[in-house]
């Protein structure tokens, strides 16, 4: 049955979602989400920010290839220039 298949697919998909924390707030994401995807989702693409993943700054050149994993603690660190 078509209906049953759809329901199964939705449940299947939810089980595959990962939960991470971004700036202390929980966020559910599709698996295989990269840091670049996350920045786009947060509308921070191109902004002068660094991404901290589990107490480590991820090099900018690796944002596209770094995949988020369930349980990751992410903080977006905004550059400040004041002196």
């Amino acid at each position: 049955m078509v209906g049953t298949d759809t329901t199964t697919a939705v449940i299947w998909k939810e089980e595959l979602m990962i939960e991470i924390h971004v700036n202390g707030e929980p966020m559910n994401l599709a698996p295989d989400t990269s840091l670049t995807d996350l920045l786009a989702k947060m509308e921070l693409s191109g902004r002068r920010v660094a991404i901290e993943r589990n107490l480590e700054i991820v090099p900018r050149s690796q944002h596209g290839t770094t995949r988020l994993e369930h349980g990751d603690q992410i903080e977006v660190v905004q550059a400040i220039g004041g002196g």
Partner: protein, 251 residues
């Protein structure tokens, strides 16, 4: 050789086993470029002069304004309108007359920046804008001069040390990308007075550590201060192999 007066003046730090005479002598022989004589530059310059760093070069193109005095503690009310570097020089010479203070009442750019960075043993970035921060970083990487970088706004701050003499040290541009993003300034966003004192004091401490080669400076680390909760976080900061300044990336 330290004079009796110097031994007395610096006795409280010479007695530290990590410092001793050798550390003090290293500071007396040091040449430090402080860029920006504002909120961060004030405590940095005051502590480095007090501790006996031999030569301090101060660069800033601004003049003392009434609205600066809430936090820029190297300046005074009677010096409103005076060049900040000259105002700072007067305070530093009164504090420690044996320190050589050179002043540059201009914004350091281009060849002048490169020359000043190259003659310094260490650079302290106390500036208020990203354009200068990225230019200082490029100059420090090119000249292999250690850079103590601090930034402060509102009630939050950031500190890191970049040491291009170490092949695995990241640089400022490994952390943040250059570009036309907005700059939050203290004049628009506000800043709480002691915040720049805290961040600037950490910068001064790190500068002294690097110069005397003591302890573990904040190389490969970024320290963040949230002044509201008074919580520090220290993050690992690795060199980006594709960094356009210190790595293999395209500019």
């Amino acid at each position: 050789m330290l004079s009796d007066q110097q031994l007395l003046r610096y006795s409280r730090q010479i007695m530290l086993p990590e410092v001793e005479i050798a550390g003090q002598q290293a500071w007396l022989d040091s040449w430090v470029l402080i860029i920006g004589a504002g909120g961060l530059g004030s405590p940095v310059a005051i502590y480095l002069a007090a501790a006996g760093v031999g030569t301090l070069v101060l660069a800033d193109d601004d003049q003392v304004d009434l609205s600066n005095l809430q936090r820029q503690i190297v300046h005074t009310t009677e010096r409103i309108g005076v060049d900040k570097v000259e105002s700072a020089r007067q305070t530093l010479q009164a504090l420690n007359p044996e320190v050589q203070v050179e002043t540059i009442a201009a914004r350091l750019e281009g060849e002048t920046l490169a020359q000043q960075v190259a003659r310094a043993d260490l650079v302290v970035d106390c500036t208020d804008n990203f354009t200068t921060r990225f230019a200082i970083n490029r100059a420090c990487v090119a000249a292999k001069t250690p850079l103590v970088s601090g930034a402060a706004i509102r009630i939050e701050g950031q500190v890191a040390v970049y040491d291009p003499r170490q092949p695995d040290s990241p640089c400022y541009q490994c952390l943040y990308k250059d570009g036309d993003d907005e700059n939050l300034t203290c004049s628009e966003s506000g800043v709480l007075a002691p915040l720049v004192g805290i961040i600037g004091s950490v910068q001064a401490m790190e500068a002294l550590k690097v110069l005397a080669n003591i302890g573990q400076p904040l190389v490969g680390k970024l320290m963040l201060l949230d002044g509201l909760s008074m919580e520090w976080r220290t993050l690992k900061l690795r060199k980006d192999p594709a960094c356009p300044v210190c790595g293999s990336g395209d500019r």
